[in-house]
């Protein structure tokens, strides 16, 4: 473990952040579709699938850099790592926009309905549901940005043996 920490560069820590943030984003999304409130039952299997893949792939980005192999496999792993990180960012942005598109009408209904119905619409459960959705947007957005940033950074402090 000590060895890993010694070898880990800033890229690894950003990868770890992507992993944790994507996991949190997924949990928020799932909770938003499961909890009582306006968005209960609105869980899109495509978002779940893409988010789960983003979590798994970002986990892979934590492991792959520390696998030492002979050339040419070691270089191939580095290329795969880059492709995975690009893939994670695309999965996350796709999840984010699908999430937003499925919630935007409901949010408009909850926050911008006519006065005569707004009291009926803004129940505690609906407001909690709306706030969870917005929190989810923020987490997905941040995760996506961090996921793009991580592509610029190497995971290790220095090149592995070449």
């Amino acid at each position: 473990m000590t060895n890993i920490i010694k070898k880990a560069g800033i890229g690894t820590y950003i990868n770890l952040a992507v992993f944790l943030l994507s996991l949190i984003s997924l949990i928020i999304y799932a909770a938003n579709g499961a909890a009582e409130g306006y968005f209960k039952g609105l869980t899109d299997s495509a978002v779940i699938t893409m988010s789960v893949f983003a979590v798994l792939l970002s986990a892979a980005t934590l492991v792959l850099p520390f696998i030492t192999m002979k050339e040419p496999f070691d270089k191939a792993i580095n290329i795969a790592l880059i492709l995975i990180k690009i893939g994670v960012s695309i999965l996350l942005v796709s999840s984010l926009f699908l999430f937003i598109s499925s919630r935007v009408e409901g949010l408009a209904y909850i926050f911008f309905s006519n006065e005569d119905v707004i009291a009926e619409v803004q129940t505690p459960a609906n407001l909690a549901s709306a706030n969870t959705a917005i929190t989810g947007f923020i987490f997905y957005g941040i995760t996506w940005l961090v996921a793009m940033i991580t592509v610029f950074f190497s995971p290790l402090k220095k090149e592995k043996a070449e």
């Binding site: 039952g41 050339e71 040419p72 270089k75 580095n78 290329i79 880059i82 990180k85 690009i86 960012s89 695309i90 942005v93 796709s94 926009f97 699908l98 937003i100 598109s101 935007v104 996506w144 996921a147 793009m148 940033i149 592509v151 610029f152 950074f153 190497s154 090149e159 070449e162």
Partner: protein, 1052 residues
């Protein structure tokens, strides 16, 4: 630059660019979904309206082309709808080199649903034209001796009318006696009987190779058969059912058997005749064929099926029971009075009609005395077990589930012992013989287990004969009947018809066809517990077969409960327990739950009705709820909800409010209803603000009046410049309209001008036969009929028709079965869907009718029909659901009767919650004939979302405008003063106008086409998407180059 840093920079940039490309792609799909809003916000447009380019244009260049197509379709309908039921020793196909004798008056005077064209083809002429050698001596006996006796009356509906002494009785009557008017051959030479006597040696002349005997049972609007009501030719009661063959009819069969080598019987009816004597015993014949109720040209096709010109592909749309009263539905049929029905009217001064004496008696099918018309009721205690759903389920349980007591003596009509399928059913639903041996086998089944999913079956149809031919393939399913169902009283038929298709197959070849049907139709409605649609976990058995009985036997074999192989069965397994969520949401996203608890008699009188359940056939077999309480029937006074019940029976579902304020009663001028204002957004979105602006321009009194007097035609309304749209009837086409009807004044400018003096100019295209369409089992034929109907509308410039009558046959005793396809709601469903699609594609608003259990005509104008909600949703309503949800109908006509105690046209749970909300129906809804102002009232109909009441009023949108102005004599209480303080009513009336106008906007009434154009924002999004995608790929490629270069360098 360090290669590693360069590589990372390129990869990172690629990540950003590809993410942006993905944002562009998803962003575009979002913007596309909200296109009209984006256009509104940016001031752009995505659609332009082309007023000079009509969207709906006829498929035919001339009226003659349309006429020829109509005639050809009729012939095809006859050919595809004819059902060969019995074919001993290959008596069918009939051989043309044999001499054929036609027996029975109906062979010469058949019962038709006639369009009334002058070149109508009857059975004798169709046979002769096909080359048959008809026994002309016998023809002479019938035509010039027996059927020569008539009286002629002038006037009345349809002009002069001949009443024949020995014609088949062509009126079933209104739940009264029925005279079976067949002259027995033994009386042919009876002295003094006929003015033109028949020679004594007639039998010698009648001898032929083959006898065709035709028996008819009529039907029609306002008619209902009464069990046990048959009269003989002298008018004496026989004690038989009117649908049983009379002794005189059987005497005709016996004579034919004696004089001819072979005898076949044709059944000319929509009400299943009791054919038992023809099947076995002394009167048994060689062949039986069902020919339905032909229209003008169907006999040509019928003969094509009889003589083998085409391979018969028709199948029975109804179960033929040995006793026509043997289904549990017949335990409660006809109806009778509540024991204290006068509680509704006696001593009550209705504030809507102060001082008026209003009764609560039965008013008759076409109206009558002043009455709330709420005295009669029936309880449809059979639940979902009508038609084959009863016979086949009981059969299945008699073998597979002995504890369900299917062999009980309850419901037995044949013999003294327990119930046996083979004793009760002569020919099952879906049954029909083919001349060419063939096999149908499911090769693949896929089920999308979701609310808007589909079942897709691939069926291999193999022609095992030596001739090419057309064949029928049918798909059935058995869904699991589980502990959950038993606990919560969810009923399941042991076999369900899903859909069918026909296919041409060359001799010895196999063709694969696909049958697709929405998965939701396998779900069952649980009205007691989940209060929504459920789908049980377990094994689903899909099968083909020659009818429902064959199908259920296949399932029994697959389950090893009968001996034999069942290679045509495929299974699908749904894991888990009962699924109460997937089908609890409609395709439109609406939550589905109980809407109509009050249509159950148990709602008013808890514990009164025991509904038939397959888990105990003996204990739950229905009793007659009109004879409970020592024959008096149920009592209104006995209900803990007596006041509510009586109020409903007074047809007072909505009381006009007096304490609100309508801010825009007079209407505020806004946009007009014309091609300049209506474009793609308005056609595709009823929530577009244009519609609110449009209907808010209509004075509220006119909106209310336009609904109240909405029959015959729509009304011109102030401020919006809407056109008048005429309404037409009926299920067989535009009744009475020739192709030259509504010719434009100038032939040069009228592309649909037809010379009124030409053959096509005099041609009436109302040539459909609903009965033969039903027995054809062909969605394709139904679609083609719909399309032809639509074309006719364009040519005669009538754009709205009450067509596609889709009520299911609850029993054989409804005379109006003549207009409806089948006992099976699912067959009605798929045919209705296709008819509606066809007409809609031509821009014609075809409104299926009469949704909501118009399943008997006796006291149709008020009878209370009680049932549970599973029956409501899975029987009559299911018959219409396909036309609305899949066919996207723009019109509907509501049943005459009540649902529970409430006029079906006033029932909010039925019309608002199910039809409008769940089914997302956005078209116009009409009542049936408004023949009783005390039964129909506009405020209740408007609040239930009815858009027009069928009062035959012409251009009349008036309500009572007060002294010295227009006085509305029908609903005098409905005035400006009375309605100006009810914003909910005004809003609903304008909403009704919105639905009406929205339907017109999507039809040939407006007949505009729209063209898609690309706004700048769409170009911009696409440009961003493709540019970033391209650059992302380039930078990614750059990264690869750097990575690979570095890789190769190190290799060196």
């Amino acid at each position: 630059m360090n290669k590693k840093l360069l590589g990372n920079a390129l990869a990172g940039t690629s990540s950003i660019l590809l993410s942006l490309a993905m944002i562009g792609s998803i962003g575009y799909s979002i913007a596309d979904k909200w296109r009209s809003s984006v256009d509104d916000a940016l001031g752009t447009t995505s659609w332009i309206t082309k007023t000079d380019d009509p969207k709906y244009v006829s498929d035919y260049k001339t009226g003659k082309e349309l006429m020829d197509a109509a005639k050809a379709l009729s012939v095809r309908e006859g050919a595809e709808g004819t059902v060969i039921m019995k074919n001993n020793d290959n008596v069918f196909p009939l051989q043309k080199n044999k001499k054929v004798a036609l027996f029975g008056a109906a062979s010469y005077h058949s019962y038709y649903s006639k369009a009334g064209n002058t070149d109508t083809v009857d059975l004798p002429s169709a046979l002769k034209k096909a080359g048959f050698n008809i026994n002309e001596d016998l023809e002479d006996i019938y035509l010039n001796h027996i059927l020569a006796e008539y009286t002629e009356t002038s006037g009345g509906w349809g002009g002069p009318k001949k009443t024949y002494v020995w014609d088949p009785n062509f009126s079933a009557g209104d739940y009264t006696t029925f005279k079976v008017n067949e002259l027995a051959p033994s009386r042919f030479t009876e002295e003094g009987l006929l003015k033109n006597p028949i020679a004594a040696d007639w039998e010698d002349k009648a001898k032929s190779d083959i006898a065709i005997v035709t028996f008819a049972r009529p039907g029609g609007e306002g008619t209902t058969y009464k069990p046990g009501s048959a009269l003989d030719t002298n008018g004496n009661p026989t004690g038989k059912n009117p649908l049983a063959l009379s002794d005189d009819e059987l005497a005709v069969v016996d004579t034919a058997k004696r004089l001819c080598g072979k005898v076949v019987v044709l059944l000319n009816t929509s009400c299943t005749i009791e054919v038992g004597p023809l099947v076995k015993g002394e009167h048994a014949v060689d062949g039986i064929a069902y020919i339905g109720i032909p229209n003008d040209y169907q006999f040509t096709g019928i003969v094509q099926a009889l003589d083998g010109t085409v391979n018969p592909t028709g199948a029975l749309a109804d179960t033929y029971a040995f006793d026509s009263t043997s289904s549990p539905a017949m335990m409660n049929f006809g109806g009778d009075y509540y024991s204290d029905y006068t509680l509704v009217n006696e001593g009550y001064d209705d504030p809507r009609w102060p001082g008026a004496e209003i009764g609560n008696n039965v008013t008759g099918s076409f109206g009558g005395s002043a009455s709330y018309s709420g005295g009669y009721y029936i309880v449809e205690a059979e639940g979902i077990y009508t038609g084959y759903n009863y016979y086949e389920t009981r059969y299945y349980d008699s073998i597979a589930n002995p504890t369900y007591k299917a062999n009980s003596s309850k419901g037995v009509t044949q013999g003294e012992s327990g119930w046996k399928y083979e004793d009760e059913v002569a020919y099952p639903f879906g049954y029909g013989l083919s001349y060419i041996d063939y096999e149908q086998k499911i090769t693949n089944i896929t089920v999308e287990d979701k609310a808007n999913g589909n079942i897709t079956a691939t069926i291999a149809v193999t022609n095992k004969g030596d001739k090419d031919g057309k064949f029928l393939a049918s798909l059935y399913v058995q869904t699991p009947y589980t502990d959950y169902d038993r606990q919560y009283k969810v009923e399941k038929s042991a076999i369900q018809f899903l859909s069918s298709e026909k296919v041409d197959v060359k001799a010895g070849q196999t063709e694969n066809i696909q049958i697709t049907v929405p998965t939701k139709y396998m779900a069952s409605y649980d009205y007691t517990h989940a209060k929504t649609y459920i789908m049980d976990g377990g094994t689903y058995y899909f099968t083909t077969g020659n009818g429902s009985h064959d199908a259920v036997n296949n399932v029994l074999k697959a389950q090893k409960k009968l001996e034999g192989e069942a290679p045509m069965v495929k299974t699908w397994f749904k894991s888990g327990a009962t699924d109460t969520t997937t089908y609890a949401v409609s395709e439109s996203g609406a939550k589905i739950t109980n809407t109509s608890d009050n249509i159950d008699l148990n709602y008013y009188l808890p514990g009164t009705v025991t509904y038939l359940s397959r888990q105990d056939w003996d204990a739950t077999y229905p009793v007659n709820y009109n004879t409970v309480n020592n024959g008096k029937g149920v009592s209104l006074a006995a209900s803990p909800k007596k006041d509510e019940w009586i109020n409903e029976l007074r047809n007072n579902q909505y009381t006009i409010k007096k304490d609100g304020t309508v801010e825009n009663y007079d209407g505020k001028a806004g946009p007009k209803f014309n091609a300049e204002s209506v474009g793609y957004d308005q056609q595709s979105n009823i929530n577009d603000e244009y519609w609110d602006d449009l209907v808010n321009a209509i004075p509220a009194n006119e909106a209310i009046g336009a609904v109240a007097h909405g029959g015959s035609q729509s009304d011109t309304l102030t401020n919006i410049e809407n056109p008048v749209v005429k309404q037409n009837d009926g299920p067989n086409g535009f009744n009475g309209k020739t192709l030259s009807t509504n010719n434009g004044e100038n032939a040069e400018e009228d592309i649909y001008f037809v010379d009124p003096e030409s053959e096509e100019g005099k041609f009436k295209a109302c040539i459909n036969s609903q009965t033969l369409l039903g027995s054809a089992f062909s969605p394709k034929l139904a679609y083609d009929w719909g399309r032809l109907l639509g074309n006719t509308g364009l040519w005669i410039k009538n754009y709205q028709i009450w067509g596609a009558a889709l009520n299911y046959h609850r029993s054989p005793y409804n005379g109006r079965n003549t207009e409806y396809p089948s006992e099976d709601p699912m067959l009605c469903n798929i045919l209705g869907r296709e008819i509606t699609k066809g007409t809609r594609e031509m821009g014609i608003i075809s409104g299926p009718k009469h949704i909501g259990f118009n399943d008997q005509e006796h006291d149709r104008s008020g009878i209370c029909v009680y049932m549970h909600e599973q029956k409501m949703r899975e029987t009559d309503l299911r018959g219409f659901q396909g036309a609305v949800e899949e066919g996207e109908a723009l019109g509907l006509m509501v049943a005459f009767n009540r649902l529970g105690a409430i006029n079906a046209s006033h029932h909010v749970g039925f019309l608002q919650d199910i039809v409008r909300h769940e089914w997302n129906f956005q078209g116009l809804i009409s009542t049936d004939m408004m023949n009783n102002k005390y039964y129909f009232n506009p405020e209740s109909a408007i609040m239930a979302s009815v858009t027009q009441m069928a009062d035959f009023a012409g251009n009349n949108s008036n309500i009572n405008l007060g002294k010295d102005k227009v006085h509305d004599a029908t609903w005098g209480y409905l005035s400006i003063d009375a309605t100006k303080n009810d914003p909910a009513l005004v809003d609903a009336a304008r909403e009704a106008m919105k639905y009406q106008l929205y339907a017109f906007a999507n039809s040939a009434v407006l007949n505009i086409s729209t063209e898609r154009v690309v706004p700048y924002w769409e170009t911009a999004i696409k440009a961003i998407e493709y540019t970033t995608l391209g650059l992302g790929c380039v930078t990614l490629g750059g990264y690869f180059c750097v990575a690979v270069l570095s890789f190769k360098k190190k290799e060196i």
